[in-house]
């Protein structure tokens, strides 16, 4: 293990980071790997935006109860936006302009997809045929990328809703979270798929599903996966015929929104190699896609204790031990350990600093307790936006 290379310097200029994204954006997308506090971060951004007088809605895909608990929602988060009333006093009684609102909801992938089908179908009969098809249910529930696509769709829906002026969305913790950037990608890839093209023959009236019997490859697939499964797939494509254009146009709208100048991307990470690597990957993709990272938040970094180095603390521990003061030696050892940990973490963060820029990266301290209520969220908001946490 190489010695820490003075990671402290990495953040020497990181004071006064501009997180005004919550004032100027109409959409904030949080991305990052799982387990880094992405949902909590989204909630904190929403809380702070509301404190500043905005009407913010936080969409989470995380079914964990914790956010609901933290927001004081005994019944859990619903798939319709709910006003977080318990937060209102805190939001509007703390020196902000007042009138802020915090709303929250949970993404319901299947219901959102159903809504899209209803919007684009020509008839009730078509809706029924699609929604009742087992292959469709699998797509709505399980196709890789569907969750991201529906998160983008929900974002679009909320953006057009007059009740809100800021939508904060928490992306799924997967490597294809950036499918989000090209919402139609998932479906387009699917519809352009060779199997789809094998099944659909262009005719004068549009596309027409051909019979399975005429295609040896389909017969072969049927032998492997079972003929019922194949029949369901064919029935789905049949039912879907004619809806592709509507779906694509809607998806294009979603992409325009995601790429709009007042949409901001916040990459969230924890100070460990694996999550920083993911964050760097996300940030690089965002830059390559021409979107750019608005800011990065690294959660749960060990706080700073005093101004000295780890080596100085270790030396003080040795000196205290030599002088026979075991208690003092233990205490200095503890400081040395915590400083070493912080240095290692800052070293790990360095590549992310390099890509997003020192003035766009905030390092949040590991708290000495767990964040599970409104006080905890307010405390983080205080760290993040540099105002004293408001007492409850």
């Amino acid at each position: 293990m190489s010695a820490p290379t003075g990671g402290v310097d990495v953040l020497a200029d990181a004071t006064g980071v501009d997180l005004d994204v919550i004032d100027v954006s109409s959409v904030i997308v949080c991305c990052g790997s799982g387990g880094v506090g992405k949902t909590t971060t989204a909630a904190v951004l929403g809380l702070e935006a509301a404190r500043r007088g905005r009407r913010a809605v936080v969409v989470t895909i995380d079914p964990a109860r914790r956010l609901a608990d933290a927001l004081g929602l005994d019944e859990g988060l619903a798939s319709e936006p709910q006003l977080i009333e318990v937060a209102s006093d805190r939001i509007n009684g703390t020196g902000g302009p007042g009138n802020g609102e915090l709303w929250a909801m949970m993404l319901d992938t299947a219901a959102t997809f159903d809504g899209l089908v209803r919007r684009h179908a020509d008839s009730d009969e078509q809706i029924e045929r699609i929604l009742g098809n087992p292959f469709y249910r699998n797509i709505a529930g399980a196709l890789s990328g569907t969750q991201e696509y529906m998160a983008a769709e929900t974002l679009h829906e909320l953006h057009g809703d007059d009740r809100f002026d800021l939508v904060i969305v928490d992306t799924p913790p997967s490597r294809n979270a950036l499918d989000f950037l090209e919402a139609p990608g998932v479906l387009a890839r699917f519809l352009d798929h060779r199997l789809f093209r094998l099944l659909m023959l262009p005719t004068r009236g549009g596309l027409k599903v051909i019979g399975t019997a005429t295609q040896p490859i389909l017969k072969a697939i049927g032998r492997v996966v079972g003929s019922e499964v194949l029949a369901d797939s064919v029935a789905f494509f049949q039912a879907f015929a004619g809806m592709e254009t509507g779906f694509r146009e809607r998806a294009d709208d979603v992409v325009r929104l995601i790429r709009a100048p007042d949409t901001s991307f916040v990459v969230v990470a924890a100070p460990r190699h694996d999550t920083i690597e993911e964050a760097v990957w996300f940030a690089t993709q965002l830059v390559e896609q021409g979107v750019g990272v608005t800011s990065a938040i690294v959660n749960r970094t060990h706080p700073e204790f005093g101004t000295g180095t780890a080596a100085e603390a270790a030396a003080a521990a040795t000196a205290a031990g030599d002088a026979g003061d075991a208690v003092l030696a233990l205490l200095w050892d503890n400081v040395a350990a915590l400083r070493t940990m912080r240095n290692l973490e800052l070293d790990v963060i360095a590549p992310l600093v390099e890509i997003v820029g020192v003035d766009r990266l905030v390092v949040l301290p590991l708290l000495d307790g767990d964040v599970h209520d409104l006080d905890g969220l307010m405390l983080i908001a205080g760290h993040l936006f540099d105002h004293p946490a408001v007492e409850g």
């Binding site: 697939i221 499964v229 400081v335 070293d347």
Partner: protein, 296 residues
């Protein structure tokens, strides 16, 4: 105190296939590596299987056999081995595997589990440690066989699903080791996952590994701290007091969560100490493996 597993290595490796599962960030890959290392050091023939295409395990276990299994490759191989070589070729060329996977969800999981079953049956290994999917996906990964057996009436994929179910239901052949951290959300999730796996999959659960527990030297009590720093300059005294308070508070939170886990999930636990690093190396894995092999 939560019940600690008396012989952690034995209980963690009580079945030939050990699937390690847990939410992102809890140290699933670390635990996979530590179990494999400890078992290999104990003289067992170990194969490590990784499913997400990340090279971390090969780096952590430079001298062990690490096999990456991907769903398309596993499906291709399965079809070739079962007289469907021509279909395999065409399936590959047309790229329909993901469509097939959507038509019959879980088919990709089934072929991966089927490959693991085949390795287990080969007799070449005493132990196969699988770095499993993240907790949410762990349940679908392991329920895929039952789901597919319901959806598909016949054919080679159905036969594969039946074989996989047999593997999952035999506690001598397969167990799941869940990994968590001593924190609120990971503990909640591991409890939920454990019950879901028992109810929905009927797979044997091994001990739960509580990873990253601060097992450092006990810190002096608050009064002793203030006495000890009385002669120091103000900033140093503050640093020492705050650091001690911080560490104690984190530890008491950890102890609370470990106690809650013990109360809510009545199965044995194995504790792995936190390492003072931001990313583990092969040397760290060796040291953690040694703690696993030592009697508690």
């Amino acid at each position: 105190m939560p019940p600690e597993s008396e012989f952690p290595l034995q209980s963690l490796t009580a079945a030939r296939v050990v699937v390690v599962a847990g939410k992102g960030g809890v140290g699933k890959t670390t635990v996979t590596a530590v179990i494999a290392r400890a078992a290999s050091d104990a003289g067992r023939r170990v194969l490590v299987v990784e499913l997400d295409g990340k090279p971390a395990l090969a780096e952590l276990l430079p001298d062990l056999e690490v096999l990456a299994i991907s769903a398309p490759d596993a499906l291709d191989e399965y079809l070739r081995d079962h007289g469907f070589a021509r279909i395999a070729k065409r399936l590959n060329r047309t790229g329909v595997i993901d469509v097939v996977g959507t038509a019959a969800p879980g088919i990709d999981d089934i072929v991966v589990l089927g490959k693991i079953k085949q390795l287990e049956r080969s007799g070449e290994y005493d132990l196969i440690v699988v770095d499993g999917p993240a907790a949410g996906h762990a349940i679908t990964f392991l329920t895929s066989a039952a789901g597919l057996a319901d959806a598909v009436g016949s054919g080679p994929v159905r036969a594969q699903a039946d074989d996989v179910l047999e593997l999952l239901h035999d506690p001598d052949r397969c167990q799941v080791v869940l990994v968590t951290l001593p924190e609120t959300t990971p503990v909640n999730e591991v409890v939920e996952t454990a019950f879901a796996l028992e109810d929905d999959v009927g797979v044997q659960l091994g001990p739960v590994v509580v990873n990253g527990v601060d097992l450092g030297d006990p810190l002096p009590a608050d009064d002793d701290v203030r006495g000890a720093v009385a002669d120091l300059d103000q900033p140093s005294a503050h640093a020492l007091i705050d650091a001690a308070a911080f560490r104690r508070s984190r530890r008491s939170m950890e102890a609370e969560e470990i106690a809650r886990l013990a109360a809510e999930l009545p199965i044995p636990k194995v504790t792995l100490p936190a390492r003072l690093v931001a990313g583990l190396t092969a040397a760290d894995i060796e040291q953690l493996a040694a703690t696993l092999r030592a009697a508690p």
